[in-house]
């Protein structure tokens, strides 16, 4: 058992969990986007789960920190909040904010964090940079919206976990990075129709199953319902 102090409260944690998980389990909310429970090697790419630790210079991504005995952690200092706001604003500045028409409306990770950090969804002081909209995933079952995607990588993580031959991957580089797919495998041989884990985990509904022509435009499929359970972690 490890004893540490988070925001002035003494907490006992089990070894083997990272600091972000310990915080969340003890009802200390730390904004985060790319982390998922059970990740052996969190990518720490969203730069949101920052905390300060006594004796450590600057802020650190809590998902990459193993709690130590006697650790003193601050999750809500001014420096932390400022960095989290900047990180979120940068994400929002490259995200097509169209909540009313979005399947993730009201359970969207960005909305939740914006509310928590008191950041308006429309970022005024940053240029709004949208990824090119003519990119096509060219997947027989899945549809992908690069303008919404925040590149958290969760879809790729779940795909890699569930499939021996992952279907999704990051493609291209830098600002042009997108979720990519390639292959001429017929849809019936792809695991996607029965899996859809990627669309279930997507925090912003950027990847979703193609609608059968007949389906009505606003029917939350099974994937959407699973999202409710996942979003809570």
């Amino acid at each position: 058992m490890i004893q540490l102090t988070i925001d002035g409260t003494k907490i006992v944690a089990q070894p083997g969990k990272n600091l972000l998980q310990v915080c969340l389990e003890n009802d200390v909310y730390v904004p985060h986007l790319c982390h998922m429970e059970g990740m052996e090697d969190p990518p720490a790419s969203c730069r949101l789960c920052l905390v300060e630790i006594e004796g450590v210079n600057g802020t650190v991504a809590s998902c990459r920190i193993a709690p130590r005995d006697g650790m003193v952690v601050t999750t809500q200092s001014q420096a932390v909040r400022q960095l989290q706001r900047s990180a979120l604003q940068l994400l929002l500045s490259a995200h097509r904010v169209d909540c009313r028409n979005c399947a993730s409306n009201k359970r969207c990770a960005l909305q939740q964090m914006a509310k928590f950090l008191k950041v308006p969804l429309k970022v005024k002081h940053l240029d709004h940079l949208l990824d090119e909209t003519d990119y096509q995933l060219n997947h027989p079952v899945l549809e992908y919206d690069p303008g919404k995607c925040v590149l958290c990588g969760k879809c790729i993580y779940v795909c890699t976990r569930q499939q021996a031959h992952p279907v999704l991957t990051f493609a291209r580089r830098g600002f042009e990075t997108v979720i990519g797919f390639m292959g001429s495998t017929p849809p019936s041989e792809l695991p996607c129709l029965d899996c859809l884990a990627c669309s279930a985990i997507c925090p912003v509904s950027a990847i979703y199953p193609k609608k059968p022509e007949a389906a009505s435009s606003h029917s939350p499929g099974p994937a959407d319902q699973r999202l409710n359970g996942v979003g809570k972690q």
Partner: protein, 183 residues
Amino acid sequence: MNMNHSRADPWIAEEEAMLEELASSISVYDSHRNNLIPMLQAIQKDHGYLSASAMEMVAGHLDISPSEVYGVASFYNQFRFHPPGKHRIKVCLGTACHVVGGDIILENFERKLGIKDGETTADREFSIERVACVGCCALAPVAVVDEVVEAHIAPSRVEGILFNFELERDQRDKEAQDSESAS
């Protein structure tokens, strides 16, 4: 990158021949994923580009998913996914060219030819690439068209360059016709 190769393609036979050749040339590599980049480099060296089916063949050989191959290949600038055109247009977007509007030149070529950088026109006449500095910054903005350096290129010059190729082609066609009718 548009990976859609479904447009009516008179080069299907060529691609089939390429795949046949590939099947034997990639078999010399161990099926270890470390070989992915060397294999892609070898294919591009021999054939000038990576086609979707070539990448799938590599994926099959290394027992990884085609997506993974595409992810790696699309990360690196050195790989292209379209066959090089007969006339290769390289638009410089190095610092000096960028400052004087090299992107406008690139955009003009893209609009005139109806393709994006890294792509090739359907008739394989032209391909556009963006390059980072060709080393003659004093001449910015610069485009290199088939080894010819076009200096201080104005947006209106783009049309002229392409028009010249068109004239050349028309003349060639005419000559071919003439010699045909003469014989």
